[in-house]
């Protein structure tokens, strides 16, 4: 609860810094996602109240930009770069392999909430294509086998430690 209060007050502070201006909506959405990890419906409703903007406007802006997420993400994140260079270098095959292996679709999380698979358009490390990011760490010149192994190790890691 205190963590929640804390986040709330940080968000309030950010809004205050921007004088609750309409023009700062994007900045505030960035801040909210940074604090909460995703933008829930309740959170967007609250923002619309605080900024005195119609919910339709806040939802409209938030959903326009692909950077904002509306569902909580899994414990671990694997992000595939689907920029041109990575595509040419065969990242699609790696994505298909992850989808098959962990039974999830791009943009979704596994049923147990352990892993989310996201797609991004170019992280700008094109010379190292194809690039896969696992929990924020970029793996350049990624391979299908290497990526699957890395993910299995990551997801299996908790169990082996406790056993």
């Amino acid at each position: 609860m205190s963590k929640d209060n804390n986040r709330r007050s940080m968000l309030e502070k950010a809004m205050k810094e921007h004088d609750y201006q309409e023009g700062a909506l994007l900045e505030i959405l960035h801040k909210a996602q940074e604090l909460y990890g995703y933008l829930s419906k309740e959170l967007l409703m609250e923002l619309s109240g605080s900024l005195n903007l119609p919910p339709s406007h806040v939802f409209g802006v938030a959903t326009f930009y692909s950077y904002f997420k509306f569902k909580p993400l899994g414990e671990h994140l694997v992000t595939a770069c689907l920029g041109t260079a990575c595509y040419v270098k065969g990242v699609e095959e790696i994505v298909l392999a992850i989808e098959r292996e962990f039974n999830l679709k791009r943009g979704e999380s596994t049923a147990d909430g352990k892993l989310s698979l996201l797609i991004t358009r170019c992280i700008g490390a094109c010379a190292m294509a194809p690039n896969i990011m696992i929990d924020g760490e970029v793996i350049g010149k990624a391979t299908k086998e290497g990526t699957l192994e890395h993910l299995k190790r990551l997801l299996g890691g908790v169990e082996t430690e406790t056993s």
């Binding site: 326009f64 041109t84 700008g124």
Partner: protein, 556 residues
């Protein structure tokens, strides 16, 4: 120094002071710490150098510093050791923390190159001409003093001390500089339009929303030399009479944002921005704004909507942003690469700049060179350089055993050009003639593993996803094109699809509201123009010579 207000003459003093400081060292070890090299462990290498110079007791003669992207991203982390005037700086490749001791021992202690780690590919740099990337590999982007020591901020001092706004615009017009964001509109003309606009306040917006997948030239510039962008904005603001500026950066570029934020804070501490600039009557302040993953936000009216906190949807022009931009006020929007050219134009004069490149397209252009190529990375070449020089000389051609097939110029809405067009000089007009665009500077090389139908579909998918939905040709037209491609690669193609694609492509180009729709069919039209055989094969024989299509159903 910080805190007390700086005056015009102080910039020169800072430069001299910093140069004295730098002369105290014999060797400067510059570790590339741009995104690509950091991913490969450059920060550990940096630490290893700091440790190694202590171990060999050469701390007093060595300075270890971070630097921006040197361009040879495929062999990172890379390190440049500059030992002053006597020798050329040495570039080391694939440096790991384990190799650092050997480099320090050989290069610093013994004064010999650590030959086995040297970057030997001279051809990569030979044809390049680095104007925009002038400070890359030489300065630490996180230190404003480094930039000033290289002559940075002396152009704004020159402007404020000796030039009138009209005089600056005159030089920019004379330079022939054209917007580097893709469309190539003459920069000087844009500045005169905003300067002439009567309304106030006026704004300057720097476009760093490099949304093109496969392009990283702007990001690299921001990470390597953020002050060049800020100085360019200052000069532009002074010339057009603006007091406020925004840099609109992609949120996906955390390192570029961090570097820029730091640079803005330093410039503010030195009273270069944030009020009266260097105690002159000219006032300017600057803020960073973040994009949130929308390709269309790079369009000039869309970027304005986004800076105002709305959906990044373009609007019809006129009115042009020069007259009615941010909050309806006159606004100058320039790509960051364009802005980084400005200080050197002011320093050396427009006529000097106009001699570089071709008569109609002056100066240089940065490209990110990627795909199936031996030396991918960041390059800067004079306008008029041919694609062949870029792909085969600088880029080293396609890896052994593969065959060159096409080069994609201009990002997802660029054109796919075949081998017989490789002698085309790179400039706005030549590229437009063959159906490609300069775009923000992406060159992706495709080899015989790539299927041109699949490639065109990939870009169409991208543009469908990124279409903002405002105008029908782009929203509905591209979706229809996408459906046809889906049919073709699922073996349901019909011969009339080719005519439909050609027609749709032309309609979408002509009728769309903004640059996204107007260029989105380029990959479709160029692949149809130069690689029509592959379409026939897909439709009639259900064969994909690259083996990309028709197999997806089986796999799923």
């Amino acid at each position: 120094m910080e805190g007390s207000k700086l005056k015009l003459a102080d910039i020169q003093k800072i430069a001299e002071h910093e140069l004295d400081f730098q002369r105290a060292y014999v060797h400067r070890i510059n570790v590339c710490c741009s995104s690509a090299c950091v991913h490969l462990g450059a920060l550990k290498v940096l630490k290893a150098f700091e440790d190694a110079i202590k171990e060999f007791e050469v701390e007093r003669e060595c300075k270890v510093a971070k630097t921006g992207c040197i361009g040879t991203c495929s062999v990172g982390p890379v390190v440049i050791i500059d030992s002053g005037g006597r020798a050329r700086p040495r570039l080391y490749q694939n440096v790991t923390p384990e190799k650092v001791r050997k480099i320090v021992q050989d290069n610093i202690v013994l004064g010999l190159p650590a030959a086995e780690m040297l970057y030997k590919n001279e051809a990569f740099f030979k044809k390049q001409h680095r104007l925009v990337l002038r400070n890359v590999g030489k300065i630490d982007p996180s230190r404003i003093q480094d930039y000033i020591a290289m002559g940075g901020y002396s152009a704004i001092v020159k402007c404020l001390a000796t030039m009138t706004p009209q005089g600056i615009i005159y030089e920019v017009v004379n330079s022939g500089l054209r917007g580097r964001g893709g469309a190539g509109f003459p920069t000087g003309q844009k500045w005169s339009m905003v300067a002439r606009a009567h309304d106030s306040p006026k704004y300057v917006v720097a476009n760093l929303d490099e949304g093109d997948p496969g392009v990283f030239a702007n990001r690299t510039l921001a990470e390597a030399d953020p002050h060049a962008i800020i100085e360019g904005m200052l000069i532009a603001a002074y010339a057009i009479g603006a007091e406020k500026g925004y840099i609109y950066a992609r949120a996906e570029y955390p390192l570029a944002i961090e570097t820029l934020q730091k640079a803005i804070n330093q410039a503010r501490a030195m009273s270069l921005i944030g009020g009266s600039v260097l105690e002159t009557p000219f006032k300017f302040d600057l803020e960073l704004r973040f994009g949130a993953g929308a390709f269309v936000a790079g369009e000039e009216t869309a970027i304005l909507a986004s800076v105002e906190g709305r959906r990044a949807m373009p609007r019809p022009r006129p009115p042009y942003p020069a007259n009615s931009g941010l909050w309806g006020k006159p606004t100058l929007i320039q790509n960051v690469e364009t802005l980084a050219n400005i200080p050197i134009i002011v320093q050396n004069g427009g006529a000097w700049f106009a001699k570089i490149g071709t008569p109609k397209c002056t100066g240089t252009k940065c490209f990110s060179l990627t795909g199936e190529i031996n030396n991918p990375g960041l390059i800067e070449v004079p306008m008029g350089t041919t694609l062949r020089e870029v792909v085969f000389e600088i880029g080293g051609g396609v890896p052994e055993g593969r065959k060159f097939k096409a080069v994609l110029v201009g990002g997802p809405s660029g054109g796919c050009l075949p081998e017989n067009l490789l002698d085309l000089p790179i400039d706005y007009d030549s590229l437009a003639k063959v159906g490609a665009i300069m775009g923000s500077g992406g060159i992706v090389v495709l080899d015989d593993k790539s299927c041109m139908v699949d490639t065109a579909k990939f870009f169409t998918d991208f543009c469908v996803e990124e279409s903002c939905g405002r105008c029908t040709p782009c929203r509905a037209g591209l979706a229809r094109v996408q459906e046809i491609y889906k049919g073709i690669i699922e073996a349901n193609g019909k011969m009339e699809d080719i005519t439909t694609l050609e027609k749709a492509g032309v309609y979408i180009k002509e009728a769309s509201l903004c640059g996204l729709g107007q260029t989105a069919p380029n990959p479709v039209l160029t692949t149809l123009r130069y690689f029509k055989d592959e379409y026939f094969e897909h439709i009639k024989e259900k064969v994909c010579r690259a083996g990309k299509c028709f197999k997806k159903e089986k796999e799923v």
